[in-house]
Symmetry: C2
Subunit: 660 residues, 2 copies
Amino acid sequence: MAVELKDLAPLLLKTERANGDVDPRVLTNVLRGGQAANDRRKELLQVIERHPVLSDRDMMFRNHTQRYEFGLKKGFHYVKLLQEGGYTDPVDQQILYKAMAEPLGFDVHRAMFVPTLENQGDDAQRAKWLPLAKSYKILGAYAQTELGHGSNVQGIETVATFDKATQEFVVDSPTLTSRKWWPGGLGKTANHAIVHARLFLDGKDVGVQAFLVQLRSLEDHQPLPGIEVGDIGPKVGFNGVDNGYCAFHKVRVPRENMMMRYAKVLPDGTFVKPKSDKLVYLTMVQVRAYMIKTLGVQMGTASTICTRFSAARIQGRTPDNKGEFQVLDYQNQQYKLFPLIAISYAAHFAGTSLVEMHDSALDVIKRGGSSFGAKLAELHAVSSGLKAWLAERVSDGIETCRRLCGGHGFTQSSNLAHIFTEIVGANTYEGTFDVLVQQHARYLLKTLASLPANEESTKFLNQSKQYSDTKLRCKAQTSEDFGNLDLLLEAFQTRVARIILTLASQMKNTKSDGNACMVLMTRASTAHAELILLEAFIRGVKSLPSGPEKHSMTHLCSLFGAWLITNSLGDFRQYDYLSSGQVDLVREQIVRLLPIIRKNCVLLTDAWDFSDFELNSTIGRYDGDIYRALVKRTADEPLNKTQVPKGYEKYLKPLIQSDL
Amino acid sequence: MAVELKDLAPLLLKTERANGDVDPRVLTNVLRGGQAANDRRKELLQVIERHPVLSDRDMMFRNHTQRYEFGLKKGFHYVKLLQEGGYTDPVDQQILYKAMAEPLGFDVHRAMFVPTLENQGDDAQRAKWLPLAKSYKILGAYAQTELGHGSNVQGIETVATFDKATQEFVVDSPTLTSRKWWPGGLGKTANHAIVHARLFLDGKDVGVQAFLVQLRSLEDHQPLPGIEVGDIGPKVGFNGVDNGYCAFHKVRVPRENMMMRYAKVLPDGTFVKPKSDKLVYLTMVQVRAYMIKTLGVQMGTASTICTRFSAARIQGRTPDNKGEFQVLDYQNQQYKLFPLIAISYAAHFAGTSLVEMHDSALDVIKRGGSSFGAKLAELHAVSSGLKAWLAERVSDGIETCRRLCGGHGFTQSSNLAHIFTEIVGANTYEGTFDVLVQQHARYLLKTLASLPANEESTKFLNQSKQYSDTKLRCKAQTSEDFGNLDLLLEAFQTRVARIILTLASQMKNTKSDGNACMVLMTRASTAHAELILLEAFIRGVKSLPSGPEKHSMTHLCSLFGAWLITNSLGDFRQYDYLSSGQVDLVREQIVRLLPIIRKNCVLLTDAWDFSDFELNSTIGRYDGDIYRALVKRTADEPLNKTQVPKGYEKYLKPLIQSDL
């Protein structure tokens, strides 16, 4: 749609909505777990939005120090809000917390310290510490990572030595690289920490254990003797949090401070080994499943902002020179943006499935079932692969959205950079990309070696012989054929089966040298993750009621599949499964779908039902009044509080008036 | 190399250097324009490093407001340094300026305001204003971009109306979206601006012209009547700069304040049209050529930091469980990092060629030559395509380096995030990706339509018939064959020729609807940019003296080519130019080259000869003593100046002691 008039941004966005035929509420119910849950969510968002302190959205004006200090204030008011408002439901608490839009010094206390006491403390420990922790009287950190060791927990250098005489552990940091490094809240907030240290009993190393160590006085918050603690400084994200360091100089804690639910140390120094604990794996799966859902939401946030901006922004003359294009008119804009909208939905569907599978596995375990080993291994592998894929693609996708908004995306008030910096750490924490893809690929290899596969996500491997037939050809004859979801699935199954078979043979050739096969493992994990995302998307679409929403989502799903194919054409062209001509058809299909999806793209992102408060974006406003918002927001910049900058007299005037 | 001992980071890096056979100084001479130039560069770096103010490296602790205010101080001292140190050579000035590692409020004054007066002012204007501008008595901004219009300069809404009676122009901002938005230094620093406005003479629109408008009083820096001016707030990068907004309310400037070197307005209101000005294009080429070189340097910075960290960091047990891998041992790390080292060199070689071609074109013009039209068109197109490609790949590459450094890459003290935020704007300014790839692709189409091509970069199109033969096959039979640089070039030429031919036919089919062919135009531009980068790299390698440096660089160049192929297998597999089996060979070649390149990778990045002061990275130190540097840097975090955070009494104590 070519536009002639100026400053019509709000009208343009309105027109986009009017031109679509999707009812976003139908999709909102899917994305937000039904209307009741969404209503509750929005009600709680308003609690934060109306709060004099917690509604703060000025983090962009603050440096790390200021964000932390303001974060303390926010944290205090958040706790008061929970206590005084009676918000005891963990789901409610989580919504309220997330609505503040930046993690705080309390974050790890809530997410890791309390759960560790709950899961790894024995009954006496839980009775003693949980009430204190839950009422924020003791504030805890989770000190595992060290300066020299992150993902390799077995490399931890902090030492705990049992002193039988005093019935104490002596916790010590023997090297430069052994100091704890990174734990959130450790720097300035926490007065206690769960500390992971290598335990020595009578000189014998019995492995890494967890200890509760008090760090600071409960009287005046001063570090206790032997504790060297502080903040590690500014980071890419999380600057409201005091990620910290800590060195222990022969610090003594009572025997009762080792987490004793599984492993134990008896008073005589006897070590009782822990029973193998499947629940640890299950917790990891749960954390990742929720991360996957969060990644979907964040992709939804960024793509909503970008879609609205693209609709409201005009730029560049139309060929007839009579008006200007909306940015959304450009084929390249659609080509880059729409697959990101698709990723947000795919991540939502895949994450939701994983959460459900986790919950039912937990049920089985709680009911004393024992046949969950295979399911657990699958969940662990699949959640690893999906987390690796999505963390990378969603971070990159958010940055793509930012670039697609041109200069206005570059201003912090667009909020796209903040969204990026708060999520991009997901590439690193909870397992780096390389570690995760290997875990995933090794699971696939193991499954292949012990066919038949019974789990849903790898059943296709039972047909691996068929897929490995180099005469197998994709049946598409027209570009529209690539909208056939079954045809797409076969293509993705063929691709991943072949990569896993190649990987198996390469592992054999290298005598199982995993490192020599790592690039190929990455390809295997990627291919399987994409198959799972596509399957989840297809299942999600199929579950929708008939109507324009299902119709539009089917197109988005087709685009997702075709787009994924064009990103990995080397795989799909292998042994000419796709011919050179079929590749042209896939490309044609994408270009054909773009204007179709464009018709509803604003509504497909509206479906997330983000409030303007949540988006916190001058250029992502629901009403499209982006220019007024940009202008208005400049009034908050501290430099604009005076006409003349502070440094004028000292640094500008002497230059300007040097000869006057 | 598996490592058993702890905290051996410096030793590990030393060992890497000892294991290589490249003399980095040979390559330094290539990258830095000879030893004399490099010596001068390092001498000037030390001037900044030893300066009490200009050596500041604490930007990570500051918010935008603080960075701007400190930037004023830096700017003042920088001007004093130039004046008192007698640094008049523009190359010296540029090195000194860049050594401060962040752009300042003066930036646009130096880079755009003064050159505009020089190039677009007539003799009288230059005589009047240049001495004032060059001695920083008037401080200028370059106000083109508006809230509603960026890349489409013809859409500018600011108006200048000539008032014959008073011989003045009346400059006005008639709409919300017409306010100037983004210009660097406009917010708080500049007291003048070159303002682009649509000129009306007797009610007739004669197009966009440039006017010198005074914004602030030279007495007290207060905005003049009718001027509404301020800072647009925090951004992703450039936070030391006061990017500003400005609205004009019927502001009057004398007729003599229109830039009159080309277009003119006579006292009676007659408009004298400008002669077409090829120099404007040439300036654009020059700016982009230097951007391309800068992108190479920045890719060099990030890959140097990442390579050193990867060598010094150990993580993850070896299969025999006896030690730990260096991160650099991992195949995936090499696979992601080494192509980025290659990009830094490719950008350097391509940028250097462009600068040389620009300089000789300028010579021709200055000597009154007229046969430079074709050369100029080529330079403009190629610099557009290369800038688009490199801005995207280098920004993404720097972020990849950051992720490859795990948690330590996430700390600001690694400096990788700062490097990213200061360069990522290159995707937007000086032409966004989509605009540039279209310009580039249209040039290629035009060349194809008027063969034979005579310019170096498109001569291959004369063989387009041969390349379009669907029976053409790549001759590689072994993986090593993909190290044959001529074979690689043929593959890249075939690929790009075919895409341009397809594009030409699609343009025909769509009746030259550029927007309907934009995805394909992007592919054409990308393919040609990659060909040019590869050619430049090959030329660069061939010009090296024989020896281990040439040998090692040849491997890096081969890797670059093979890696590029695997990124676009759909193109290279078209009509089976590469067979399915040959794709396996390309992949094999990459995996084969990785350990070979690893042998010298530290030395290949050492070759940039960055000082530790330049890198400003705790984890990128030349000596590898990264852990001590990380610990040391935390002392500078303001939160660590006290043991107990400020907010303790008010926000933490009430929670901790609530029932005590």
